[in-house]
Amino acid sequence: MVTATVGTAPSTGASASTDEQAELRTVTRRFLAERSPSGSVRRWMDSAQGHDPALWRQLTGQLGLAGVAVPERFGGAGGGPVELGIVLEEMGRALVPSPFFATAALAGQALTASGDGASWLPAVAAGSLTATLAVAEGSGSWRPADIATVASPSGDGWSLSGTKMFVVDGDSAALLLVVARTDTGPALFAVTGDTGVQRTRLDALDPTRRLARIDLDGVPAVRIGSDDDAAPLLRQVLDLAVVALAAEQVGGAQACLRSAVDHAQVREQFGRPIGAFQAIKHRCADLLVEVEAARSAVAYAASVATDPAERPVAAALAAAYCSRAYTHVAKENIQIHGGVGYTWEHDAHLHLKRAKSSELLFGAPTTHRARLADLVGIGSGAEEDR
C-alpha cells in the first residue's frame, strides 16, 4: 500500500474508491455469500413471493442497504450511484432474487432525482416500503413519447388509466411509480392503493426477477416532481436505472467468468485440467478483457451519474457494452462447462437468462448504442427525443 506516499489525484477524472466503499463491497459480498447461496436462490425464485423476506429484512435493516443511495435527510446513507453500483454488482454476482433493484435502483433513484420524494424515501430507506417504476407498455418502449397511459386531473390529485408491462417486481411492490401522459406531457405519478389496480405476474425468461403487467383503471395517484416538463427527469431516471443495471450485469459477468475458470481448473479431460488447453484458456483471457472493459464502463458511468453533462453518454455506453458483455460471458460459461452447463441443475443458465433478460429490459443494446451515437454527434437523431 503506497497510499500514504502519493500525492492527490491527477486531473484524469480518476477517483479512488474510498475505504467506506471498499468496506461496503466486502460486507455485502460476504453477507450474500453466506445468506444467499445457489440453493437459496433456487428455493426462493420458485416461491410464491419470489424472494426471501428474511433476507430482505436483514439487507435493509442490519445492513441498511435499501437506503445506500438515499439522502441522509431521508434516513439514507447519503451515497450515490457509485455505492448503489457496488451493492448491485454484488447482488448480480450472487444472482439474488430481491426487491432491491426495483426499490433502490428504480424507484429510490427516481424519487431522489425528482426532489419530491419526502413522503416515501424514509420508508424506502428503512426497507419498510418496496417500490418499483412502471414505464413501458405493450410495445416495450421506454420512450416517453410512446406512453399511452393517461393521467387526468381528479379532485386534488390525478387519476390513471392504462396498461403497464414488464414492470420489475410489479406483482409485489407496495409503491408504484407510474409514468403517464398529461395534457402538458409525460409525468411521474405515485400509486399506493389497490383500487382499480390489477397486477398480473408474467412468465419471465429470468426466473430470478419477477415481471408483471399492471392494468390501471381510474387509479388515484399523486404527481411527483415539479409541474415543469418531466421529460428531462424521466431521461435522467432511465440513465440512472441503466447504470445501476450495468453494475449488476458486471457482477453477473464476473460470476460467470469465475465459474468458468473454476470449472476449467478442476475439470479434467484427456488427463489434464481443461483450462490447460488453449481453446479454453485463451477464451477465458478474452472474456477477462471484455469484463474489465465493462467494469471500466460502469465505474465511469457511476462516477459521473450526478453530472448532467457526462451522464447521458456514459450511461448509454455502459448500457450498451455491459449488457452484451454479460450475455457473452454467460454463453461462454455454458460452453466451457459443456454438457453439465446445459442442465437445469447448474446455475449457468440462470445467469444466461438474467443476462438476456437484463439486456432487453430497458431497450436492446442497439437502442442504447443509437442513443450514444446521437449524443456524440454521429447518430441519425432518431433516438434524440428519448
Binding site: S141, D203, D206, F270, Q335, G338, Y342, W344, K356
Partner: protein
C-alpha cells in the same frame, strides 16, 4: 431433371430417376399418416404404424442393404429419397438406432445379430437409444467409467450414462462400456446392446436449461447382458462408434438447409410484422443470415455433386456442422433481440411472441456447440484429419476406423 436409365435400383430394375421419384412421391402422398397427435402415447403409436407401413411396402432404410429390409439405394437415389421424404413431411425413424447403431451392426455385427436386431429396428417395432456419454467423461468419451464385468456368458454392467435421447420410449440401449482397465482408455471399451427393461436399469429424465426433459440419465446397477449381445470384439468397441453407411448425412443435408430456409423466412416475416425491416441494421443482419442459409444449400449441392463425381464428399461435409451451429445460435439470438422487451418473456406467457419459440430456440441452440461432440472437439478433428495439423499428444481427436 434428367431421365437416363438407372444403373442401380431402389426396388424396380430399369426404372429412371424420375420414375423412382414419382413412385416415392405417390407412396408418401397416398399413405401419409395424417396430423401428428398431441399426446405422447398416441404419437408413438401413430409413428410406429407409419414406420411399419413404410417397411412393409419396401420404402424404409434408403441406405440399408436389402438383405436387412432396406432399399439398398445408391447415393443419388438416397438424395432423391431424402428430398421426397422432406417434401412429404412424413415422420422419420424412432430413436437413434436407425441412424447410429444400425451402420455399426450392419458393418460389424455377426449375421445372427443382424438378423435379430435390424429388421425390428427399421420397422419401428423395437426402439433403440444410445448410451455413450457419461457425466464424468464429457468430450473425453474414452474416459468412460461404466464397467462390464465378465461373468460366464454374461456381462454385469454398472455405471451411469447421460444425455440419452428417447430413453423413455426405448426398448433397447446400445452402449459403450469398459471391459478393460481405465488405463487402457480406447483399447478397453466394448460395444454392448442392452435390453432397456432388464433388471437393474433406472431411467431418469434429465431437465435441461430450457426447462424441458428431452434427455435421460440411465443408471446401470449390476445389469446382466448376454455376451452374444456384444457387437465386435471384447475391448474392440471404440473403433466401431463412428461407423456410417456411405454418405448418408450428406444425402440428408439438403433437408437441413431447407429447414433453415423456412426458419429464416419466418424470422424475416416476424421482423416485417414488427416493422423492424425499416431499420438498416436489422436488414443487414437478416441479409447476413440470408447469405449463410443459401451457402448451406450451395454446400449441400456441392457435396452431393462431389460424391457423385468422385465418390468423396470433400472437406465441406465436415465443416458444415460448425457453420450450421454458429448460424442457428446467432439466428436465434438475433431473433430474441428483435423481440425487444418481449424477449424477456417465457414460453407460457400469453404475451409471448409466437408462443416463445425464438426465446426457446435461443436457449436450445446452446446445445448446438455442445451436443454430439463440442465445437472444440470438432475443430480438433477438422484440424487434424483434414488439414493434417499435428495431434495434441493427449487431446487429439480419437481415430476410430469407421466402416463403409
Amino acid at each position: 431433371m434428367t431421365s437416363t436409365p438407372a444403373r442401380e435400383d431402389g426396388a424396380h430394375a430399369g426404372e429412371t430417376d424420375d420414375e423412382f421419384r414419382a413412385r416415392l412421391r405417390a407412396f408418401f402422398t397416398e399413405h401419409h399418416p395424417g396430423r401428428r397427435p398431441e399426446r405422447p402415447a398416441e404419437r408413438l403409436a401413430w409413428q410406429k404404424r407409419w414406420l411399419a407401413a413404410l417397411f412393409d411396402a419396401g420404402y424404409a432404410g434408403p441406405s440399408w442393404p436389402r438383405e436387412h429390409g432396406g432399399m439398398g439405394l445408391g447415393f443419388a437415389r438416397q438424395v432423391i429419397y431424402h428430398e421426397e421424404h422432406a417434401r412429404a413431411r412424413v415422420p422419420g425413424p424412432l430413436g437413434t438406432g436407425v441412424g447410429i447403431a444400425a451402420p455399426t451392426i450392419i458393418t460389424h455385427g455377426t449375421p445372427a445379430q443382424g438378423e435379430r436386431f435390424l429388421r425390428p429396428m427399421l420397422r419401428g417395432d423395437v426402439v433403440w437409444a444410445q448410451g455413450y456419454s457419461e457425466p464424468e467423461a464429457g468430450s473425453d468419451l474414452a474416459a468412460l467409467r461404466t464397467t462390464a464385468r465378465r461373468d460366464g456368458d454374461e456381462y454385469v454392467v454398472t455405471g451411469q450414462k447421460v444425455w440419452t435421447s428417447s430413453a423413455d420410449i426405448a426398448d433397447v440401449l446400445f452402449t459403450l462400456v469398459r471391459t478393460g482397465t481405465p488405463e487402457d482408455r480406447h483399447e478397453g471399451i466394448s460395444y454392448l446392446v442392452v435390453d432397456a427393461n432388464a433388471p437393474g436399469i433406472t431411467v431418469r429424465p434429465l431437465r435441461d436449461l430450457t426447462g424441458d426433459a428431452n434427455f435421460c440419465e440411465i443408471f446401470f446397477d449390476e445389469v446382466r447382458v448376454p455376451v452374444i449381445d456384444r457387437i465386435g470384439a471384447e475391448n474392440g468397441g471404440w473403433p466401431l462408434v463412428r461407423t456410417s453407411l456411405g454418405h448418408e448425412r450428406a444425402a440428408g443435408a439438403m433437408t437441413q438447409a431447407a429447414r433453415y430456409r423456412r426458419v429464416l423466412d419466418e424470422l424475416v416475416a416476424l421482423a416485417r410484422e414488427r416493422g423492424a425491416t425499416s431499420d438498416p441494421l436489422v436488414r443487414d443482419r437478416l441479409t447476413d443470415f440470408e447469405a449463410r442459409v443459401r451457402i448451406m444449400r450451395y454446400t449441400a449441392t456441392r457435396v452431393i455433386a462431389d460424391i457423385i463425381a468422385t465418390g468423396e464428399p470433400g472437406p465441406a461435409s465436415s465443416t458444415s456442422r460448425l457453420f450450421v451451429a454458429a448460424f442457428e445460435q446467432e439466428l436465434h439470438e438475433f431473433a430474441v433481440e428483435l423481440l425487444g422487451a418481449h424477449g424477456t418473456l417465457g414460453r407460457s406467457d400469453p404475451h409471448a411472441v409466437q408462443r416463445g419459440r425464438w426465446v426457446w430456440g435461443f436457449l436450445r441452440t446452446r446445445a448446438s456447440t455442445i451436443g454430439t461432440g463440442t465445437a472444440e472437439m470438432q475443430r480438433n478433428t477438422i484440424a487434424e484429419r483434414i488439414l493434417g495439423l499435428p495431434r495434441d499428444p493427449v487431446a487429439g481427436s480419437p481415430r476410430p476406423a469407421g466402416g463403409a
